[in-house]
């Protein structure tokens, strides 16, 4: 019986891992039909709901008009959890360029696109299972936040 159950779960595991590795993209992205202002408000609320804090929002439009951009709607949201950022920046200096986490939010006409580097991509550069697990958790949180942005 135990063997049967093991076989059953192995089959399920293989099935689920095939789905989660379908894409070779290094970016996580979502497009929402919400306007930029509404999308900005919602993603910040989701960041807080998932236990992170918004560290600051970088306006990238200061000089963008001078660079032929016609929109003002281009922002980078920095966010994270203090304890995680503190611990990781001490133990893994090579992760510092990726801390805190970032979402790029930009408008395409009436729709809004949100982009993040996929934290899972960074896992290839570490052997420690704890850090791999941490990066997977971030991936999952971002993935779930983006799924909620679609609603």
């Amino acid at each position: 019986m135990n063997r049967c159950l093991k076989l059953f779960f192995v089959v399920l595991l293989i099935g689920s891992s095939t789905v989660s590795h379908a894409s070779e993209d290094h970016l996580l992205m979502v497009r929402t039909q919400q306007t930029f202002e509404i999308a900005m408000e919602k993603i910040q609320r989701l960041i807080e709901e998932y236990g992170y804090s918004v560290a600051h929002i970088q306006r990238c439009d200061g000089g963008l008009n001078d660079f032929d951009y016609e929109t003002d709607y281009y922002r980078v949201i920095f966010f994270g959890k203090y304890k995680e950022v503190k611990a990781l920046s001490n133990d893994y200096p090579e992760l510092i360029p990726f801390l805190p986490l970032k979402f790029l939010v930009f408008a395409e006409n009436d729709e809004t696109v949100i982009v993040s580097l996929d934290p899972d991509t960074l896992a290839d550069y570490f052997d420690n299972p704890d850090i791999k697990h941490q990066l997977r958790r971030w991936h999952n949180d971002i993935d779930e936040m983006f799924s909620e942005m679609r609603i």
């Binding site: 063997r3 049967c4 076989l7 059953f8 089959v11 399920l12 099935g15 095939t18 590795h21 379908a22 894409s23 070779e24 993209d25 290094h26 970016l27 992205m29 979502v30 497009r31 804090s53 560290a55 600051h56 970088q58 990238c60 000089g63 963008l64 660079f67 032929d68 951009y69 016609e70 929109t71 281009y74 980078v76 920095f78 994270g80 959890k81 203090y82 950022v85 503190k86 920046s89 200096p93 090579e94 992760l95 510092i96 360029p97 990726f98 801390l99 805190p100 970032k102 790029l104 930009f106 395409e108 729709e111 696109v113 982009v115 993040s116 580097l117 991509t121 960074l122 550069y125 679609r150």
Partner: protein, 347 residues
């Protein structure tokens, strides 16, 4: 008993598969919509317009999904099942009631040398002499002013040339494409001349994007240099080195700033944030998602043993994650500028 139990469980698993038969709309939302927009209007990616779809086969779409466009933003999705790919194609096709074209996979015989002359006269203005497009990114121009509203496809891309048949290329050359404003060559070139252009386009194939060779070197995630100086001196030297390298400096930030109160955050981890506007201008034109790497920064940290490190992102590696060869080429220059500034600061 055991065998029947195993069979029952296997049946249960297969029934899950049936119950969770791929939903093309959901898969499209998951994998395609961010770039191609809700109904294929295009954005970061090219439009999947009804006009375009009327000139491409299902086999072309399937291979395009599987192979992507190496170095040209669109990722490959080799892990999707046949059923998933078919359901995505079915969903895209559902936007139009036009018949699905089919094309022969036979090789068209043409004189590539002769085709080159016609290509350079008729096609290179948009697709560039080497077939790489016009060097201003992909997709549809929205907020960025570029030379075209719809950026010409990179027809030298291996993903493209491995997806399309000769007859399909021929069809694209003679089709009247109102959506992309690509003019028909019907009547402007003879049948043989069109075949010659097809042969020449085939000869343009680029094996792989430039960043592939770089990735084989197994580059480090970040650039870390130990400073011979103390924290304050290193920060000041880095400021001066960045300014001398024509970077504009923005207000500095601590890594933990904003995540905790100002009395608690670590002030011995400071990020110097900077920008070179002409490089930024070039890069945003070709990659609107670049913002996930902005602003450029180097971080100086003091470790518990008082040693000081300067840490910068490896821009070449990071740019390769965008699958954008144009971006990678600019990042190579940017990387050199940042490395020079770090070297100067730690001299």
């Amino acid at each position: 008993m055991k065998i029947s139990l195993i069979l029952s469980l296997m049946l249960l698993v297969s029934s899950f598969s049936v119950l969770s038969a791929p939903n093309g709309e959901k898969l499209y939302q998951q994998y395609c919509e961010s770039c191609h927009q809700t109904q294929g209007e295009g954005g970061i990616g090219l439009p999947l317009s009804n006009i375009k779809m009327a000139h491409v086969s299902d086999q072309y779409l399937e291979k395009t999904i599987r192979l992507g466009r190496p170095g040209r933003i669109m990722p490959a999705y080799p892990g999707l099942s046949d059923a998933q790919v078919a359901s995505i194609i079915g969903y895209i096709r559902s936007w139009s009631d036009q018949p699905v074209p089919t094309f022969s996979s036979e090789t068209i015989t043409g004189n590539a040398e002769n085709g080159e002359k016609h290509y350079k006269k008729r096609c290179a203005k948009c697709h560039a002499n080497d077939g790489s497009g016009e060097g201003e990114g992909t997709g549809v121009t929205k907020s960025r002013k570029r030379k075209f509203m719809i950026m010409p496809a990179a027809i030298n891309n291996s993903g493209y040339l491995d997806s399309v048949t000769d007859e399909e290329i021929r069809e694209i050359i003679i089709a009247d494409r109102d959506d992309s404003k690509m003019p028909s060559m019907q009547g402007k070139l003879t049948d043989q001349e069109i075949d010659d252009v097809v042969a020449y386009v085939r000869s343009l194939k680029v094996a792989q994007p430039a960043f592939e060779d770089y990735l084989k070197e197994e580059p480090e995630l970040s650039i870390i240099v130990e400073s011979p100086n103390d924290f304050e001196s290193t920060v000041e030297a880095a400021r001066q080195a960045l300014s001398a390298s024509n970077f504009r400096l923005f207000p500095e930030r601590y890594i933990e700033q904003g995540l905790v109160d100002e009395f608690t955050h670590n002030t011995r981890q400071v990020s110097l944030r900077f920008c070179n506007f002409s490089e930024l201008y070039q890069m945003l034109k070709i990659e609107p998602r670049l913002g996930v790497l902005l602003p450029c920064r180097i971080t100086i940290i003091e470790q518990p043993d008082k040693s000081v490190l300067i840490i910068a992102p490896n821009m070449k590696l990071l740019s390769s994650w965008f699958n954008n060869d144009e971006l990678f080429k600019i990042a190579e220059q940017m990387e050199e500028n940042i490395s020079n500034a770090i070297e100067e600061a730690t001299f």
